[in-house]
Amino acid sequence: MIEALQQTGFQRVRVCHFFNSFSGTTKEGVARKYAVQGANFIAYKAA
């Protein structure tokens, strides 16, 4: 995701926060197996 955003032209791309978005759902095991979690991203277009 970060590489794709950078290749598009966005700058200062970074992940800011992580979330256990699937905790307590029926897909919690799958999420854990594949290390799936929610994340906040920020990216800027040059001025």
Binding site: C16, S21, T25, A35, Q37, K45
Partner: protein, 204 residues
């Protein structure tokens, strides 16, 4: 993490499945799904302010199915233009509309009619006319180039089979100096072809 849809996966079928899944969420947010919904989830696991969410119409908050919190990053500009990619029932749009204020503009983009209907009703009930909603594909936004201050999104870009097209389109509409601040899922391991072709996993 690969951003391309597997060649063998039918992209139109995927879009159709995504649309069908979220239409079901719009019709019955309390139904059986393999992802969380609603304001209590948003507050408990994603850091939203439950008091602020409870002040919004339930028609907008009950189907919320985001995976993070775009409001944890930079403050949205008062009077600015914000778009929400995959706005669903509009909860994040209404929060954004409160932040940009009456001089600002928020445009929610979604492809599910039932979600758009909920979102429009929610904006009317919340008396936030600066929030509007458009039916569109996230690879073809109905917006002029360089007109958007901030793009938000919450758990939707991962549903797009062609993410590079989405990013190109977002780059087009964002003004110089503008930004994306969005939430999405990340996958920490390389996925097998079999898993990547599993539509059930994509639509969640």
């Amino acid at each position: 993490m690969s951003i391309a849809c597997p060649v063998s996966l039918d992209r139109e079928k995927l879009k159709s499945e995504v649309r069908a899944t979220y239409a079901k969420v719009a019709e019955n947010p309390q139904g059986e799904f393999h992802f969380h919904r609603g304001p209590e989830y948003a507050a408990r696991l994603l850091g939203y302010d439950l008091e602020e969410l409870n002040a919004l119409p339930p028609i907008a908050t009950a189907p919320f199915a985001g995976v993070g919190n775009p409001f944890m990053m930079e403050a949205l500009p008062s009077g600015g233009t914000v778009i929400d990619i995959g706005s669903g029932a509009g909860m994040d749009c209404l929060l954004a509309a409160r932040r940009v204020g009456p001089q600002g503009r928020v445009v929610g983009i979604d492809m599910t009619d039932a979600m758009l209907a909920r979102a429009r009703r929610g904006a009317a009930e919340a008396k936030l006319p600066q929030a509007g909603f458009e039916k569109a594909d996230m690879t073809e936004l109905p917006l002029d180039s360089g007109t958007v201050d901030v793009v938000i999104s919450n758990g939707v870009i991962n549903l797009a089979p062609e993410k590079q097209k989405v990013f190109n389109e977002l780059f087009r509409v964002v003004r110089p100096g503008g930004r994306l601040q969005f939430a999405d899922i990340i996958v920490g391991t390389e996925l097998s072809e079999e898993v990547r072709n599993n539509i059930d996993l994509w639509t969640g």
